[in-house]
Symmetry: C2
Subunit: 458 residues, 2 copies
């Protein structure tokens, strides 16, 4: 098909919304390591996980052999509210860069949660409802995941309790209000409603909270309240599975125009967006059918892949959640306060960690002023104000496109534009005012954090 015929935005029809998720673990020779019980350090099975997670989601979490898993029709109907998401040919960005590269991005921000998080939120809320539960609990930091879960819960008519890191609760009142508009109860964490919240408030009076603490509160409430379960927006295998709708749609749209990407780029925090985008391409690579360069982009201030250890670690700072084998900076690691936006998690999806460890993908870290420069350039020519998280992928995509400009290579670049930055204007203001700075943790800092890694032999 001729170049000219590729539109700015490739939309699939609603019939083309994937009917199955693709489980990349089925094609991995080295499977991701099992979750461990934080008390016994033994692998956790279905029964061990039941107090925390919904049954069907545990099955998905543990299933590393079934390649395709059906998407229930009710979920596909919900997806129709905002999917298929557009695959955009970045003609304007290409022109602005003067690059021979062809740039595509899969845009997941055209829904009120403002990101890809909704793709998994609806699934987790759906299975909770199907199991006859009353509601779900979760934590949220910046608020994207909490918003997505609130939307999904409102749609299905189940209860949603969000523990929001206190400093975000106070500094991001607008995110909080979106969640409340969708009927969620939003509690600043640490609260006085849970044992762990009371304990932390007593030990650290005036604390503004952390994601680790909020997770522990949400898990405590889920396990102690009849009819509730805990849900999580990233890292877990099940979440990556749900997010494969991103990659499956992107691939179908490219296939329709006979386009094969050379480089696939995504930002990486917990790994859900990146994993979802790359899964179907990675599958081809694992099966030896095709080759792609796959690049994870992370903040230099929270460099799990590029400077972390591949080891078992706690998923939360409260150490109540299962341990996962992953690239980690240590569960005590907290990124510098100057770091704006998300991608603050100390660990990384076990699936992606294994793939990276086995050499199937690259990783690079970028500094935040360079990220916001890319964000601004992108916003001005492509008309979408990107989330700071997504802008990590934009930075890397622009860098690759500029390399092509030097070499004259007409590479095809695909990246994931996970969301919009409408609730991140404090960070943009810093950038606009020239007050944004970079921070890279020292080796000493990382070594101190690594020293807290649990001793696990399995």
């Amino acid at each position: 098909m001729s170049e000219k015929s590729i539109p700015y935005k490739i939309y699939l029809s609603e019939d083309e919304i994937p009917k199955q998720w693709y489980n990349v673990r089925a094609d991995m020779k080295n499977k991701p390591a099992p979750l461990l019980n934080p008390a016994t350090l033994q692998p956790m099975g279905f029964e061990d996980l039941r107090p925390v997670f919904c049954d069907e989601l545990i099955k998905q979490e543990l299933d590393d052999t079934t390649a395709y898993i059906d998407i229930p029709q009710e979920i596909r109907d919900f997806y129709k509210m905002y999917r298929p998401s557009p695959l955009v040919r970045a003609y304007c960005l290409e022109k602005a860069l003067g690059t021979p590269a062809k740039i595509y991005y899969k845009f997941e921000g055209n829904n009120t949660s403002g990101s890809h998080k909704l793709n998994s939120a609806i699934v987790q809320a759906y299975y909770a409802k199907k199991q006859g539960l009353k509601g779900v609990t979760t934590e949220t930091g910046a608020g994207q995941w909490g918003t997505a879960l609130s939307m999904a819960s409102a749609y299905l008519g189940i209860d949603c309790k969000v523990y929001m890191v206190k400093v975000s609760y106070e500094q991001k009142p607008f995110r909080r209000e979106v969640m409340r508009t969708y009927g969620a109860s939003v509690t600043p964490s640490p609260s006085m409603e849970t044992e762990i919240g009371k304990k932390i408030n007593a030990e650290h009076p005036g604390t503004t909270g952390s994601l680790g603490c909020a997770i522990s509160e949400a898990v405590e409430v889920a396990t102690k309240t009849e009819g509730y379960r805990y849900v999580l927006g990233s890292v877990l295998n099940q979440v990556l599975l749900h997010q494969t709708v991103i990659g499956l749609e992107a691939k179908a749209a490219l296939d329709k125009y006979g386009v094969t990407p050379d480089i696939i780029i995504g930002c990486a925090g917990g790994g859900s967006n990146l994993g979802g985008l790359i899964s179907p391409f990675m599958g081809e690579k694992l099966r030896g059918e095709k080759d792609y360069r796959i690049v994870a982009v992370e903040p230099a201030s929270c460099p799990s892949f590029t400077r972390g250890k591949f080891a078992y670690d706690f998923c939360d700072t409260g150490m109540v959640c299962p341990l996962a084998k992953m690239y980690t900076l240590g569960s005590n690691f907290i990124p510098s306060a100057n770091h704006a936006g998300g991608l603050r998690y100390h660990g990384m999806s076990p699936i992606l960690s294994q793939l990276y460890h086995d050499g199937y993908m690259e990783a690079r870290s970028v500094e935040q002023t360079a990220v916001f420069e890319a964000a601004e350039q992108f916003a001005r020519v492509e008309g979408i104000l990107p989330a700071p998280e997504s802008s990590h992928a934009i930075r890397a995509a622009i860098d690759e496109a500029l390399k092509c400009k030097e070499t004259g290579e007409e590479k095809t670049i695909l990246f994931g534009l996970t969301g919009t930055g409408y609730f991140d204007m404090v960070a943009y203001q810093k950038f606009n005012d020239g007050e944004m700075t970079d921070y890279i943790p020292t080796d000493d800092e990382l070594n101190k954090s690594f020293a807290t890694l649990p001793k696990v032999e399995i």
Copy 2:
């Protein structure tokens, strides 16, 4: 075509983006009255308007006979960044209401400006650039229009100076930062940069500004600065013309599925969205080809159509802009401080005013707590957090759908969902906290304001 086959979202292809705007004035027997010079009260021609507006836009402003006006290819290319916008079948809302009515909405919020305003911003910026100008000036209140113009200006590489009502500048810092990210200069109004700003600051120390004052400042800077012109986001004939892409796309999408709306609903502030949505349908009605019920919805706190006078009035409080014949509450009218969101303009598009006066459309006013109830209900089932402005149309659409539930009629309702409410969370918070109240101006208040209408005999 069978009911089942209508998707949730009807997307036209990029080729189907309209190639011409439709100028409804060509089909009106009673044309809208001409603009008058504020000093002489005489009708203004091309030369009179040149110091303020771009030449091509003046032609469009004055042309009431050409039915179709070509859209330049460069503008259509820009439209491809976010158009065609989806026409959504509100299956989930219909189900939640239990109505036999079929509800469709044309969603204009899927772009970073968050509203339909971008449709005209790009046109006005384009003609300014084509005329060799350096830049454009404008005013903004809540910030939607300023954001749209900033985006269009950044894309075309021209300068954009926005005068933002001081109270909004301070209370809506995020909107301001979006504009700055797009390279606009944003000045709180009244400023000390203009004669009128200095005068107002001297007369009213500590004033937090008004839209009327910001308009006057923007016009002063445009007329006094070499290479600049003033642009406006609503009310003017040219703006309605540009916004007909909304209605043309909506009609094309419905035609594709053989659907004819019975009722067409839009919110009305200055009238640009409503005028754009209804124009092609109104054309059929004016030519006697088809009949539609067309309903304008306005806030009870700013009821230009339902309680205003059809008379010549100033478009700004500074009285530097041309006078227009329109439904108006008087240029001194300021809606109650309890009124959240936009739709605060004292007047109304002269085109729509004439059509309403001639009986071609209805108008109704709604109170804001009822509007936010509709907004919340819509958000929870349709997954889009609507702008307060757009929610006026939602309120009326729900009311019509509930009437159908009573009568059993299967009417088809089309409404305009102009934008998203991400920057309106202060208003949502008020609603969530049960602190939102209603206000309806008394007859005395309106009569006082009407007393300031200029005496014009023409």
